[in-house]
Assembly symmetry: C2
Homo-oligomer: 332 residues x 2
DNA sequence: ATGAAAGCGCTAACAC
DNA sequence: GTGTTAGCGCTTTCAT
């Protein structure tokens, strides 16, 4: 069996209280016994039980991450950056793939609570507002990532999606495009991006694409299908703004299958600036989200919250940045 | 405060033992009190504490997943499939990104042990054999994924990497290629793939590429750099076998930058059959790993191990499958 | 500076 | 069928 604090105490000839104190650096113990106990612990390869410690009201040092789908490189990138910084701060991450399904979201939250996680991060695409409210009521340390819930007082790290949409559309407008379509899944962040897109179009006096059709899933295949549909419509676009890089790749494929060249015949802008953007051909013009920064900031926020170092909630708004690559070109 | 078993017991007018029994469906309780207690629990929104339960020797229902890097789509795909099946089986996954660094591996293992995870999955690229031995000695339920450690008696799910390498090389040889280079990071699984590759070349009496240079990182950039180097060597290859899809994408980019067309001037085979393979242009001929299957199988293995339902360790060997797409073509 | 003891929330004998 | 009680491994007063 793994040694317990009792074993260490016995071997060191002290009480468990003393051992506990040297483990936690609390109370007052002579340098001599401290050294002694430390040595014994090393010898026995003693590892304090987080479980037992947690039961006495201390932290579990694990936090739950609710995230739609690791197969999306944006999310796996986020997960990676969150996990990295969590590790630095001494926390572990329990990953929960929700697939945007409210049922899964609810079930995972319940599980995380039973396991007494110290806090929860809700990454983009979490649509279950009631669940969020409940968590807030229960005073569970919480942070929202890559999405805003304007109505709720909760720590948030997000980018200005509206601006991002505006940047994408403006870029295309600046290139002379008038028929600019948009491809997106129906999510809060995308509605914001769409708002920015609309804004730019309105400013330019463009009325193309008033009614938009949403895509059912945020993956390459869906992007391809919708792009196909758009391209074979009676008034096809000359440019497409895809609300993430996956959809953009799908759009590129659709264009290619119709014998169109990107960007000569069709310009495409993505969103996220994931690893895909620079890997594909043509390299994708896309709106970059500061993925690493987002992970770091959200972890910092959450840990401050856990430690009760904050009086007020914060909303950290990061700014997206257009990265121009080869998938967009002048029109006409 | 969250309600405890005592609160429920009091509200229901029964003892905590009774409540415990209805929670766990153990012992004998009348249908009447069971219903009563169940209702009270619902009313109070009671959630049993996994932490307390774990302290009495029961499971934590969480397992640790050590994995090199979520940014690699193969690993994020694996993580996703493991997490999915874990969820089905009632477990949560703590993710640990190791970056192939033995130090990180060791540190994470120590953390996981302190947290009393029920088991650990070591995914591909785990090179810290001593750590594995130590875990075995401590009788920690363990499963190795996407890698084999022939010398150790431990549950394993892997593919036949040697066969995979053989398939890739044979395919290229069958297309008439004689100068077939290989790009890989120095990892166990890649050494196996290389063995298969060598085997195929030897069978065909080809002696090209005797000394191979390894790549330092498994990413697009590294693949590109090494491919460039190969292509501008005095005796450049007409085909490249990249040991994962990322490296293959890098190779495609390198070719393109030199004005070569894939597959007309250079054939490229990848490995993993990640989402990238079908997304890029040209679509990648690659050796498919059954990612979903692998995730399901390791979880099953590990849970059986946790529950002590197995007398003997198992090694499950899955077979890779060549998926021919557009990045390879006849030579000469 | 150190230790005795209560208690965290739950499980599992064992008693009734 | 149901309740009593002794732990599980640790933290934390409170004595000494």
């Amino acid at each position: 069996m793994k040694p317990t604090i009792y074993d260490v105490a016995k071997a060191a000839g002290v009480s468990i209280a003393t051992v506990s104190k040297v483990i936690n650096n609390t109370g007052r113990i002579s340098e001599k016994t401290r050294k002694l106990v430390l040595n014994i612990m090393k010898e026995m390869n003693y590892q304090p039980s987080v479980v037992a410690s947690a039961l006495t009201g201390k932290s579990t040092y694990t936090i739950g991450l609710m995230i739609p789908d690791l197969a999306n490189p944006f999310f796996s990138g986020l997960a990676r950056s969150i996990e990295d910084h969590a590790h630095v701060l001494g926390y572990n991450i329990v990953i929960c793939s929700t697939d945007y399904e409210p049922d899964k979201e609810a079930k995972y939250i319940s599980l995380l609570l039973q396991k007494s996680v110290d806090g929860i991060i809700l990454a983009s695409g979490f649509e279950n507002i009631d669940a969020v409210k409940e968590l807030i009521k229960q005073k569970v340390p919480l942070a929202i990532l890559a999405r805003e819930i304007p109505s709720l007082e909760v720590d948030t790290v997000a980018i200005d999606d509206c601006l991002g949409g505006y940047q994408a559309a403006s870029h295309l407008i600046g290139l002379g495009h008038k028929k600019i379509a948009i491809i997106a899944r129906d999510l809060w962040s995308n509605r914001e991006r769409m708002r920015g897109y609309r804004l730019a179009l309105d400013e330019a006096g463009i009325s193309y694409g008033k009614e938009v059709e949403y895509v059912r899933e945020s993956n390459v295949e869906s992007g391809k299908q919708l792009a196909e549909k758009l391209l074979r419509s009676e008034d096809p676009p000359t440019a497409i703004f895809a609300c993430n890089d996956l959809l953009a790749v799908g759009a590129i494929q659709a264009a290619r299958e119709r014998g169109m060249s990107v960007p000569a015949d069709l310009s495409i802008v993505g969103f996220d600036n994931t690893v895909w953007a620079s890997a594909i051909d043509p390299p994708l013009t896309t709106v970059a989200q500061p993925i690493r920064d987002m992970g770091t900031q959200v972890m910092n926020l959450l840990v401050q919250e856990i430690n009760g170092q904050k009086k007020y909630k914060q909303r950290i708004m990061l700014l997206p940045e257009l990265v121009v690559r080869g998938s967009t070109a002048k029109h006409g």
